[in-house]
């Protein structure tokens, strides 16, 4: 009898731990450094589909929000988040700007052809300098900028359902 009570209380306790840890897992612990409120400096590069050099100053105009998405064709998680970007591109108040990080241009073009192009423009970042200047940690990364060119939010890693929801709530 004593044993049974012990067993049952043990099992209950363990289940409790399981539930708490399970919930804890869903709390994102991705450390995102304080980079918000920084103003995006001008950067220039050629675009993926045309050979002209373009400046960010000319692109970051006429929209309430800009989403800078750092991606590459060789990056698996980028593929995963791509449908979310496609969905976002339907929102007229948002301009999605791609930064193609250290990529083979042919593959990059194929990638967009195959999966769709959510970007209004794609900067080519062959040596990764633009991304480093933006303070990126890796690919993919998504940076939300308001109309004053201030960074208001940063998502490191691919956009999962949770961060996508958060992103949408910011854009509203």
């Amino acid at each position: 009898m004593k044993n049974k009570i012990l067993l049952i209380s043990l099992i209950l306790f363990i289940c409790f731990c399981l539930v708490v840890l399970f919930k804890g897992l869903n709390n994102s612990n991705v450390y995102i450094p304080e980079t918000t409120n920084k103003i995006i400096k001008e950067f220039k590069s050629r675009s993926l589909f045309s050979d002209d050099e373009i400046s960010s100053e000319k692109i970051l105009v006429n929209s309430d929000y800009y989403i800078l998405n750092i991606w590459a064709s060789w990056c698996g998680p980028c593929r995963k988040e791509h449908p979310k970007l496609m969905e976002l591109s339907k929102n007229p108040s948002v301009k999605i700007i791609g930064i193609n990080y250290r990529d083979n241009l042919k593959n990059a073009k194929n990638f967009v052809k195959k999966f769709g192009n959510p970007y209004s423009v794609i900067f080519v970042d062959t040596n990764g300098i633009i991304s480093i200047e933006l303070g990126a940690y890796g690919v993919p990364e998504t940076i939300i900028v308001n109309k004053d060119k201030k960074i208001i939010k940063k998502f490191i890693g691919y956009l999962d359902d949770k961060s996508f929801k958060e992103l949408n709530s910011i854009l509203k």
Partner: protein, 628 residues
């Protein structure tokens, strides 16, 4: 490319061998002959062999900088020195799990070969429990953390290994720690098998003790290496920070230490059986929990690696599967009645080991609560807190005093019953001596905290007693004396370190001088230097102490190019009695550097005493092999 393919398919072959072992073992299990089917041996060998090939494949991919492999791409770079290319193999999540698997399969093979004198059914059951764990890890690796993921098109250059991981101590820290963790899995499986078979007995204790010693030895050394790394590389100027990830390795160690003492009793008398089983289970469960906490990213810490919830989910469920499995086996099969009825006197080794266990359990619970409480609090109330050293100091230090006193006389107790009729004069003398030394120290320096003032005389006393035992002519239980001496020495070094260390933090620019009580620091100049995969800025500092002796210290700032990270390398001058530790950090947009100068007393003795502690375990292990 090829190495990558071979590695991947070899891993799958390994999984297949592991699965086939199960029906063959089940078929072999009911047979009454005492020999294990040879097929089981071969399969277990193949399982190990395939994982080994797979591991070597990954090592080759790293050496050749094959960036078509995602793991290599994420963690290596062509300009990295060869040594770190190799150590990069296990310096990341995927590779380190492959290493887990390698050690797991190696240990079960070793177990099968080395346990021929044990009952067959017990051996097969151990194998079956172990295979459950192995298959769990196989699936985990293949499904969520495949080290052979393929990238196309192949990138030209990799992302580089985090520079703070490019350190010799850290390169061997994970493999050694894993030997300890995985060793505890053998103890886990074997104790479950012994419970099912009703084989918890003296001969089982005798046989499993070797595994306990192996795990304990490697775990101790592994923790030591991690701690040395934190001291040199993180530049925080300490050896233990109560960081969750450090705690995670300390918890199995505490549990294993308790088990090590418990098994000594079981070897002599069939008592404390439930305790032994519970400790065997908890040691491994704590090791896997450690893996869960570190790998799932649920903790915020300097060394959390992965941040993939899917991985965390898998280990979490696997962990609870193991816990439930252990609980079911324990409650269904363990009969408490089958041990000897020995009347145990209060003053006996048995009682004292039980008390030792209670102390260990107390320390363990403190660390466990300190580590898990923030997670629980965040989930339940959404409040973020972090538990720091004051919590641990408050809860652990007061209990250290009785623990130390207790340790001074326990080794003298005999089995079953002892009497204190001959209190030797030298013991009293040592006691008086340690008090006098402490009072002198107190007068000279004046300790700030009451707790430390109380701890000091007892630590000294324990130190003197264990030193006396170690030097005595009686070489019985020599390994135990070595370990106990190492432990008391460690506590003493830590205490002295905390009392006598001092620290100065200032901002200096080139050419400036700063005077403080007990010396001056001069910042002479800055030099630039180029390393293989980094650029460094070296500061030339000269420090005069109060005796007007000068030393030169040259801390470094390293700017790694891939990934671009700045690390500060402390310059440390070690002498017998203190370390002089200088680290500098750049202050943003400023010609000033933040300089931290520390004098750390007895640092080297902390490392040496831990080595002595581990050496005791090693001696006991080799003695056992020799006796066999």
């Amino acid at each position: 490319m090829l190495a990558n393919q071979i590695g991947y398919y070899s891993l799958i072959l390994g999984l297949i061998s592991s699965i086939i072992i199960i029906p063959i073992s089940l078929k072999n299990y009911p047979h009454n002959n005492e020999t294990i089917d040879r097929k089981i041996f071969s399969l277990s060998f193949f399982q190990f062999f395939f994982v080994l090939v797979s591991f070597i494949g990954l090592v080759f991919s790293f050496i050749n900088s094959d960036f078509g492999n995602e793991t290599v791409y994420n963690n290596s770079h062509t300009t990295k020195p060869l040594f770190y290319k190799i150590s990069g193999t296990w310096g990341n999540h995927e590779g380190s799990l492959l290493l887990w698997l390698l050690v797991l399969t190696f240990f079960i093979f070793l177990f099968l070969v080395k346990s021929k004198s044990q009952p067959k059914k017990y051996r097969i059951l151990t194998l079956l429990f172990q295979q459950t764990i192995i298959i769990g890890f196989f699936i985990f690796v293949l499904k969520t953390s495949n080290p052979f993921n393929y990238l196309f098109p192949t990138p030209k250059e990799g992302m580089g290994l985090n520079p703070i991981l490019q350190d010799p101590a850290l390169a061997i820290h994970p493999p050694i720690l894993y030997l300890g963790f995985v060793g505890s899995s053998v103890i886990f499986s074997s104790s479950l098998a012994a419970v099912v078979q009703g084989y918890i007995s003296k001969s089982w204790a005798n046989h499993i003790k070797i595994w306990i010693l192996i795990s304990w030895f490697f775990l101790t050394i592994g923790i030591l290496l991690g701690s040395i790394w934190a001291y040199y590389e993180l530049g925080w100027g300490g050896f233990w920070f109560w960081d969750p990830v450090e705690n995670v390795s300390l918890m199995p160690w505490l549990s294993l230490t308790a088990l090590l003492h418990c098994i000594l009793v079981l070897e002599k008398k069939t008592i404390l059986t439930s305790w032994t089983i519970i400790l065997s289970i908890s040691t491994f469960v704590l090791s896997v929990s450690g893996t869960f906490l570190v790998r799932s990213g649920i903790l915020n810490s300097v060394h959390t690696f992965a941040n993939d919830p899917e991985r965390g989910l898998f280990i979490l469920f696997f962990l609870f599967f193991l816990i439930f499995l252990a609980l079911i086996v324990f409650f269904m099969f363990h009969k408490n009645g089958n041990h000897e009825t020995v009347k145990i006197n209060f003053l006996s080794k048995e009682t004292s080991i039980l008390i030792n266990n209670w102390f260990m359990m107390y320390f363990l619970s403190v660390v466990l609560i300190g580590t898990l409480y923030p997670i629980f609090l965040e989930v339940l109330t959404n409040e973020k807190i972090s538990v720091g050293p004051p919590f641990y100091n408050k809860l652990i230090l007061p209990f250290l005093v009785p623990f130390l006193i207790f340790m001074t006389f326990v080794p003298y107790l005999k089995w079953i019953k002892s009497e204190f009729n001959k209190i030797k004069i030298d013991i009293i003398l040592l006691f008086i001596l340690s008090f006098i030394v402490s009072i002198l120290l107190f007068k000279q320096f004046g300790f700030e905290s009451l707790m430390i003032s109380i701890l000091i005389p007892f630590t000294f006393y324990l130190f003197l007693i264990t030193a006396k035992d170690l030097l005595s002519k009686n070489k019985k239980n020599f390994s135990q004396k070595v370990s106990h001496f190492g432990f008391s020495f460690l506590v003493l070094s830590i205490l002295l370190n905390s009392i006598f260390s001092s620290e100065i933090i200032i901002n200096l620019k080139e050419g400036e001088r700063f005077s403080f009580q007990g010396g001056t620091i001069t910042f002479h100049s800055l030099e630039e230097n180029n390393g293989k995969n980094y650029k460094s800025i070296i500061g030339n500092f000269e420090i005069y102490d109060d005796k007007n002796q000068s030393i030169k210290l040259m801390p470094e700032l390293r700017i790694y190019n891939q990934p671009s990270i700045v690390t500060s390398e402390a310059d440390i001058k070690t002498t017998l009695f203190y370390d002089k530790f200088l680290v500098m950090n750049s202050v943003k947009n400023n010609e000033y550097f933040n300089v931290r100068y520390q004098v750390k007393s007895f640092m080297i003795w902390i490392w040496i005493s831990t080595l002595i502690l581990a050496l005791g375990g090693f001696l006991s292990f080799t003695k056992r092999l020799y006796e066999k």
